[in-house]
Assembly symmetry: C3
Homo-oligomer: 261 residues x 3
Amino acid sequence: MNDPLITLTTDFGEGSHYVAAVKGVILGVNPAVRIVDLSHSIPPQDIRSAAFFLANSVPYFSTGTTHVVVVDPGVGSSRALLYVDTKGHRLLVPDNGCWTLLPAPSMVRRLEEARYWRPTVSPTFHGRDILAPVAGWLSRGLDPAALGPVVTEWVRLKLPAPRREADRVTGEVVYVDSFGNLITNIPGDWLANFGNARSPKVSVGGVAVTRRVATYAEADPGTTVALISSSGMLEIAIAQGSAAVQLKAGRSSLVSVVLTD
Amino acid sequence: MNDPLITLTTDFGEGSHYVAAVKGVILGVNPAVRIVDLSHSIPPQDIRSAAFFLANSVPYFSTGTTHVVVVDPGVGSSRALLYVDTKGHRLLVPDNGCWTLLPAPSMVRRLEEARYWRPTVSPTFHGRDILAPVAGWLSRGLDPAALGPVVTEWVRLKLPAPRREADRVTGEVVYVDSFGNLITNIPGDWLANFGNARSPKVSVGGVAVTRRVATYAEADPGTTVALISSSGMLEIAIAQGSAAVQLKAGRSSLVSVVLTD
Amino acid sequence: MNDPLITLTTDFGEGSHYVAAVKGVILGVNPAVRIVDLSHSIPPQDIRSAAFFLANSVPYFSTGTTHVVVVDPGVGSSRALLYVDTKGHRLLVPDNGCWTLLPAPSMVRRLEEARYWRPTVSPTFHGRDILAPVAGWLSRGLDPAALGPVVTEWVRLKLPAPRREADRVTGEVVYVDSFGNLITNIPGDWLANFGNARSPKVSVGGVAVTRRVATYAEADPGTTVALISSSGMLEIAIAQGSAAVQLKAGRSSLVSVVLTD
């Protein structure tokens, strides 16, 4: 039996004392836990970024792992805190839609049983005072049914949807990584012809992309390329450069693919 | 019996090789340790920030945890290195006052027994060569008495103290978090009337704060609010914005509360 | 028997979902692993920085530790991925020279056995799809011989070499730490006279360094000093200041030491 795993995803900023406090509380409830930092760099209060992050992180973990998410602009309001089971991954999250991009849940519960919380709950830090101790208790084997009642309604994020027409696909940039690569919301499998003889014209923010490649290394340094990202989405990159800087593009920049002959 | 916990708090910067070296040395002495990163983002050589950080982090951990702190502008000088027991929390710290805000210690020892250090000690990296191996030895069950003699004098930081008068409280901003919230040194319980019918007038850097709230979510976006922080101090925030940026305030900005009728 | 250790060194950026995915995959293969973050702040695709980082980190770990390094501008090209044993430290690295500054290896293998990889390998994320699962398998006791054939050729970085003449040593800045200290490639033991009666004149980027010291604390705040760094190299620093900012120096800035009488 391995020591249980609890991951943390927050917008507190790397090295924030808020992160330290959450870790201390978890380890206080269960000193055997191994805490795995996923990110403390979610942009402040940016639920969309959290949703993108979780969709690209949680599925790589084993089922049974507990993921604590503290991106919580509504802290202290009447928004609920939830326990979610999505394909065996366990989430402890504010009910703000941050898990919208994960698979449909098999169970969602509202955290109500205060006996698993810290005795005093700050109205501005439910991550420390509710989610952290609940994660600790779950890691000790507590049945999620003890946390609160099943709920059937929860907040879903409205995310910009890509559109597919006969000869054209449109979408937008949803994430810029640390290399300046632009990840879009256009699924790679919508572009089945991408890379074959028909020459789709990709443009981002009105700028045409000159080459389609399978890997960054194929293109000469400085070339703007389109490829399928490691998460399966259309991505625009500049080989050994930053597409974000050089194309002046960022999140929400419009992306279109015209499938010409 | 769980694997022992050692936390790290440094000003080395996230991802610095100095952090990696400290981790390697600890795990070399005791391969069973679980290392918990608290922060590597303390502003360089900023002992006041370290003191604030530790006061808001250490108390959330279980007693028995060992906390290594490397914010050490005096490295290589005659300043001592200390083992401190404060309410059962074990600290390994430079004697520069960085633990001033934690409760009075039950024991303080000066690290003198070089047999628990690395064989060669760099005059500029006592964190790696002294504190890290000593932490490893403590985690293996070494009696702190073996580390060096008890001392009764140590450096105490002079920190700006808030002041309380009949109708007025004054203090200053001591920390700006990643959301731009301004945490002050004014204890929340000095403001017992805060939030009741009397209307205290809070100002920061000369700018009046318009609303008092219990949580960020109560106020309309963009409103400047005063509240009690999750650490129990007076805090000034802007709902869904950055008080630091929008009020042009930061650490040391003066804060006053006038208790009028 | 302790839980196995796997360290991570990447250029993904702190808090990137790429880091989270790598951690998930490792823990999926071996849920008992303790993952130790070394750095996710290597400058993007900067192999020289990775080489410097590894040289200053890996040797402090116990032999047997597995170090996963993902700084990989050539991902998806024909560049190999390697298993390296250097004095008992195990590396999983792209064959791009990032381990050039570590001691000569006793064994190097090319990763070829796809049965230890993820079933689908993205052409742009070998860190997640090859290195992470291979690290997981090694931590479960897999014989490295199962990973692929021994190779005898690999990429070596050409790094700027310091030069030693009769009365003069020249080199350059290879790293700027978070304090703004300038670490050079000039070995401290080349400067045996450094600090004695003969007065070596150190200059960086043409600016003369005024004092030689053993520790930062020796000098008055604001003084530019030369000392031997904690890694044994010539270092230029400004006491309680940033040499990088104040001397307008950075990586590749030329450094000379004239040994006069």
